[in-house]
Amino acid sequence: MSTKKLDAIARKSRARRSTKIVLHNGLIALLCFIWLIPIIWLVCTSFSAYPGKNTSTFFPKEWSAVHYAKLLTPDTVNQFPTWFLNTFRIACWTCLVSTAFVLMVAYAMSVMRFRGRKSLMNFAVLLNLFPGMLAMIAVYFTLKTFGLTNSHIGLVMVYSASSGLGYLIAKGFFDTVPRSLCEAARLDGCNEAGIFLNIVLPTAKPIIVYTVISSFLTPWMDFVYAKMILNAGISANYTVAVGLYKMLEKSLINTYFTQFCCGGVLVSIPISILFFIMQKFYVQGVTNGAVKG
């Protein structure tokens, strides 16, 4: 075969490969574009000069950042800065309690061996099968009896009290901590509490970061529970989710839709940052733990 012919074949296969690459990346780009349309629409609409819903064009007719300014100056309906602070405060407390609970339960279930451990785990699986909504209805009445509805304490309790049930991912991680490490510590006269605090926790940084961020994000992402607990209260007590939802009520949507979009963008920014930090641990944690049941 002449070199010319070989060259031609090589060029052809190279060409085929590069068209393949172009097609492949084109497909990915298309998919990503489809996935991003709502986000693009959110950001574009938030910069619209028109306060209500834009139904005729995808992009706003007039661009302006005036609604961001409006969103940050409270009026009778919109108290976004207060909502943001409320959510932040609730998130901090939830994060504190949930993280402690999850790590405690996970350690006890993973590292320690005691009677009734398996039974407790099975019981947790059983409890998880009941719709959370059902328990919430009763919790609502209980909280109401104690005057804790429309209060942030009640909401923090709702978010964090049962968080111990979500211990599986952290347990999956603790399961991979080498047992020999604990044995060595025990031989050195370390008690179980010491092993937990000084040996296991320092090696469990990824799962701690994951638990902290995911429990911090719960109040930001949640809508139903916040609506149930805070719905009847005053606007200054709302979280971002409840507040923004109220903006879309039929009588308000035409004056507040753009502000809703601004609020959506402003909430999404900190969440996205945290999510990107968590992303790595999310994959690690989930693939280590939960999926293996």
């Binding site: 409890l127 209805i137 509490a193 969440i271």
Partner: protein, 487 residues
């Protein structure tokens, strides 16, 4: 332990199922009562007695205080509610004119809900007290045994030390378990009880009483009278809930795997960037993104304007697929069902993509290489190597995902609440919509119609269905219990 004799004969092999544990607990208790001295027997009445006899003063004091607390709780609180548990209260709330104050005042009425809630709470407290009492009897006998055989008896400090060492799990678990009992277990039990009462809008405490009605609500759901449409609505909604969970789980699962294969392929340029773009869509909270979608696909929304402009609406109308001047993306049965599943793909696939990426990173690459050597095409590799591996690792997660989707409140509620109005009179009679899942129906029933009795029955049914699917699912899936692998 060294050469020290065993303090108290205990079972060597520790059984770990609830029946054996209970049997042994009762056997221990019986033995303690039979062989114990006067103080052990006295412990049954005065919890601190046994400890006091063995000079464990601090522990005796704590137990006595606890007992006093339980007695105070019983007399001061529980007795006001528990005796009325059988009837759930008999005194209807009324306004009575008081001659002394010249004002009308409420009479001393019964509140059925409080009676139910606090009775249940009392039962839980009493059950805990009973266990504590029996435990202290067993403990007292153990102390007697130890002291008779001249063995070491723990000081209070040593007892406390134990809670940081052998009994550390009790320290760790007590608070989380308390949280779960109060915020999950008691509420669930409470609503199971409500399913057997007639607690609804006509029987709302405090102004009205509700009472036990036995299995009537279950009969309403399954038998249905002539007027009741709950049975009709229930089977319809259950059917759609199952269809939805099936498609939502499957589309997300395979969509996630395909997406992850696509992005992690060798042909991809700038893989991290693409993944980041997709993750942005997860980071936007669902109440923002879904409420936005709802307006995007609204009857007068932008999607309809676009479809109108390109002539799609007219084409569909002439094809007889729609009869309105707009495309009812989220407001007509059929259309809404499909749209919800499609939008859920948008919501869920990036999540599954992240998980699948993590799992596929550990895919044994030697198998892939040898398959490629043997000339397998990408589809064959996917079918014979990638998928079996994925299924093996994430199989159980598929079952939990199914249950999660079965109870997926957010997607349905945020997309259809206030937008979708049912035209089916039978559904409307039961306050249901064609696109409702059982959980959203349950939510509407309680939030808007105060129909707690039916909501509780539906909740129980949800549990039954989820439990059945979980059992079947886990029996089919190979359960990869890796608990002991690394330890």
């Amino acid at each position: 332990m060294g050469g020290k004799p065993q303090a108290y004969p205990r079972l060597r092999r520790r059984p770990d199922n609830i029946a054996t544990i209970l049997c042994q607990f009762f056997a221990d208790f019986g033995k303690a009562m039979a062989k114990g001295d006067l103080f052990v027997k006295l412990t049954l009445i005065w919890w601190g007695a046994g400890c006091l006899r063995r000079k464990q003063y601090a522990k005796a004091l704590i137990l006595t205080l606890l007992e006093a607390g339980v007695i105070w709780f019983t007399c001061g609180f529980a007795m006001a509610y528990v005796p009325k548990f059988a009837t759930l209260g008999t005194v209807q709330a009324q306004q009575v004119f008081n001659m002394q104050t010249m004002q009308s005042e409420w009479n001393d009425y019964d509140n059925s809900f409080m009676i139910l809630l606090f009775s249940l709470f009392s039962f839980v407290v009493w059950a805990a007290a009973l266990v504590l009492c029996m435990k202290s009897v067993i403990g007292a006998y153990r102390l007697q045994f130890d002291s008779q055989n001249g063995l070491h008896i723990n000081s209070f400090r040593e007892d406390l030390q134990e809670y940081l060492d052998q009994k550390f799990h009790i320290t760790l678990l007590s608070l989380p378990v308390l949280g779960i009992v109060i915020f999950t277990l008691i509420p669930i039990l409470l609503l199971i009880l409500v399913a057997f009462t007639n607690y609804d809008q006509q029987h709302m405490p405090p102004t009205n009483l509700f009472r036990w009605v036995g299995l009537t609500n279950f009969a309403t759901l399954f038998g249905g009278g002539i007027t009741s449409t709950f049975g009709y609505a229930f089977w319809r909604i259950l059917g759609w809930t199952l269809v939805w969970s099936f498609f939502a789980t499957l589309t997300n699962y395979f969509g996630g795997i395909l997406m992850s294969l696509l992005i992690n392929s060798k042909l991809t340029r700038g893989g991290k960037l693409w993944r980041t773009l997709l993750v942005v869509t997860i980071a936007v909270p669902q109440f923002v993104s879904l409420l936005l979608m709802r307006n995007f696909f609204a009857n007068t929304g932008i999607m309809n304007t676009l479809c109108e402009r390109i002539g799609l609406t007219a084409a569909l109308r002439s094809a007889g697929l729609i009869s309105t001047s707009y495309i009812p993306f989220l407001s007509a049965p059929g259309w809404a069902h499909v749209m919800i599943i499609l939008i859920n793909i948008w919501v869920g696939v990036p999540y599954q993509m992240l998980i699948a990426t993590g799992v596929l990173m550990n895919l044994p690459s030697d198998q892939l290489e040898s398959a490629r050597m043997d000339g397998a095409n990408p589809f064959q590799i996917f079918r014979a190597i990638t998928m079996p591996y994925m299924l093996q690792v994430t199989g159980p997660a598929l079952v939990t995902d199914f249950v999660k989707n079965f109870n997926n409140f957010n997607v349905i509620y945020l997309l259809t609440q206030g937008v979708y109005v049912t035209t089916n009179q039978l559904m409307a009679n039961s306050q249901a919509k064609e696109v409702d899942l059982l959980v959203t129906w349950l939510f509407t029933l309680t939030q808007d119609y105060y129909n707690y009795k039916m909501a509780s029955v539906i909740g129980i049914m949800v549990f039954v269905v989820c439990a059945v699917f979980t059992l079947i699912g886990f029996n089919f899936m190979l359960r990869g219990d890796k608990e002991g692998t690394y330890q």
